[in-house]
């Protein structure tokens, strides 16, 4: 066991997979050379694996996605970094039209076994274009997987699984978690399933689903509530698309009271998909409306401190919503 941050766990996963498989390549804006990414996630990789396998791409995200997909067709498990999840948008066409459909449109003759990493989420004073949760835009494209780790353990194991997967995986990393969470993780090789939600805490009174930074708030709140005698089941979605419907439905049934927490704007967010799975499959087990706690219906996170604070769901909001649901 060794203590690592979320960021270090990701860096380590890439390193170990690059050692294991010569075909793995890493590229994106500023990921190579001495810089190793604007967050430092790919630090030391160019030094260890050389400039051919780890390199800076020019500043074009559509090309980054197409390049990765082409490499994938040739059998390379390529890892492309989008500098911010906001900047994956120029690549939407490549990802939806090519990457996601390659296997299906050739009945398996060609595939794109690649990983596209994207740091998402707000609360870093990054304003409109460094704070967004863009995962929802891709959620609804069979052929594609979208996952996000919300713990240090998962950061490493999930990324390893993504790299080894024969499916294209959008790997969302919460940028606020990079240095905010630390944990002891095994030294041995392990992976985390790409398609399974995780019950991170068992409970009997209410069930809360979340991921990313918000999950930290949920976990803290549930500890508090535990002291007040309220038992909270906490589910980390892990797979944002396709959803792990089975685990979701079971966890919702267990308590009959469901809260979904996301920092994204409510309408259109991943949580709508979760809610509708529950409403279709567990309706008669519910004792309360399916509540979604989300960001405001406003375009994006503003820069001014008080505006950002007003925009971002916070620890108190989460606690209040959980209490309210428990008391319902």
């Amino acid at each position: 066991m060794a203590e690592k941050t979320y960021l270090e766990a990701i860096n380590l996963a890439i390193k170990e997979e690059m050692r294991r498989d010569d075909g793995v390549m890493v590229f994106g804006e500023d990921v190579g050379g001495e810089k190793g990414g604007v967050f430092g996630v790919t630090k030391e990789l160019a030094a260890e694996f050389g400039d051919e396998r780890v390199f800076n791409s020019p500043l074009g995200e559509s090309e980054i996605a197409g390049l990765a997909t082409g490499l994938g067709i040739m059998g390379h498990h390529a890892i492309a970094e989008f500098q911010f999840a906001d900047y994956i948008l120029p690549a939407v066409n490549q990802i939806l039209s090519e990457t996601a459909k390659m296997r299906y449109r050739t009945a398996g003759d060609y595939t794109a076994p690649i990983v596209m990493r994207a740091p998402y989420g707000g609360g870093v004073r990054g304003g409109f274009y460094h704070s967004q949760s863009t995962e929802k835009i891709f959620a609804g494209q069979p052929g594609l997987r979208i996952v996000t780790p919300s713990s240090v353990y998962d950061a490493k194991g999930l990324l390893k699984a993504a790299i080894r997967s024969e499916d294209p995986v959008l790997f969302y990393e919460h940028k606020k978690l990079y240095r905010a969470i630390k944990d002891d993780i095994p030294d041995e090789d392990y992976t985390v399933a790409l398609d399974k939600a995780k019950i991170v805490k068992e409970g009997t009174d209410i069930t809360v689903f979340s991921y990313g930074m918000m999950l930290q708030f949920v976990l803290k709140a549930s500890e508090k509530l535990e002291n007040q005698g309220i038992s909270v089941e906490v589910v980390d979605l892990v797979s944002l698309y396709p959803l792990d419907q089975e685990t979701i439905v079971q966890a919702a049934r267990k308590t009959g009271k469901v809260l979904l927490v996301t920092e994204d704007t409510k309408e259109g967010s991943i949580m709508n998909n979760v809610s509708s799975v529950i409403a279709e499959n567990a309706l008669f087990d519910l004792d309360a409306p399916i509540k979604i706690l989300a960001g405001p219906e406003s375009p994006s996170m503003p820069y001014a401190k008080n505006l950002e604070d007003a925009f971002l769901v916070n620890q108190d909001d989460v606690l209040d919503a959980m209490v309210e649901l428990a008391e319902f």
Binding site: G70, I73, P142
Partner: protein, 330 residues
Amino acid sequence: MDLKQSKLSNKEIIAAYKVIKETRKLDERLWQLNRIGKSTFNISGQGAEVGQVAMAMAFNSQEDYFLPYYRDMAAVMSFGTTAKDILMGSLGKKDDPASHGRQMPNHYGDKANNVISFSSTVTTQYPLATGIALALQVDKKPGAVLTVTGEGSTAQGDFHEALNFAGVKKLPVVFVIENNGYAISTPNDQEFGTDDLSSRAIGYGIQGRKVDGRDFAETYLAFKEAAEFAKAGGGSTLIVMDVDRLTAHSSDDDQRVYRDKAEIEEMKENDCILMMEEQLLDENILTIEELQEITTSIDQEIEQATLDAEAMPDPEASEIMTHIYETGGH
């Protein structure tokens, strides 16, 4: 240019001609199948066959990779896809190598012959081609990559992003623009502000060439050079190949609405295949009888291929839930 200036043997030239002619005949058959409702779509390369085959002959489907676009039937056939394969695509058959009945007609792909699957969304193949080429480069493999798009489709950002990257990495790619004068109904002067799209190459630090796709030898030589340059590590070339679009944009279009009658007539009179046939005769590569024989035997082949393709099984409805993920369906 004389055909023989290509430095190809008569045998090779005749083989090329056969693919050209077969493609034309096959395309005519596809239009028929469309008219009688057996396929719901056709988009054809009539007027581009000579250039396409000359282009494709500079590559080989063992080590090279081809990312075509929808008009590239002749080029795809040169890479090894058969008439029956293509017919299966148009008829939506299970064994269609392009997509197993999943994609529209003329969306080529053929793993056995290194032809990479094409989508309808134009120019996405350019970035994909850079990925294929980078794999060759990093894996120290000998091949080059050929990829094609239409001149209208060069307006896409992907055109630029791919060329830019290819220039940085000196990738072994030959990027081709088939300029047939129109993007559906939109003529060249509404598509771009230059008379010479190959002048874009310089801005990427790659080679630029312009060829007349109606001229077999000129086209072949240009592509041969570009392919060799790529394989020798010189980097990419952008080749603009002028061709004609003898037909409407597709079976959903009628070009008489937006093109002059005279322009269409003139183009038909200068049909590249007629011109090549004249050359074959003039240069004594084929006699008129031999030409006739080739046509007859192609007709028979197409007939047989059609029967064969029609007899092939349709995909089963349940296949819509297969090959979505590594593990199958959802």
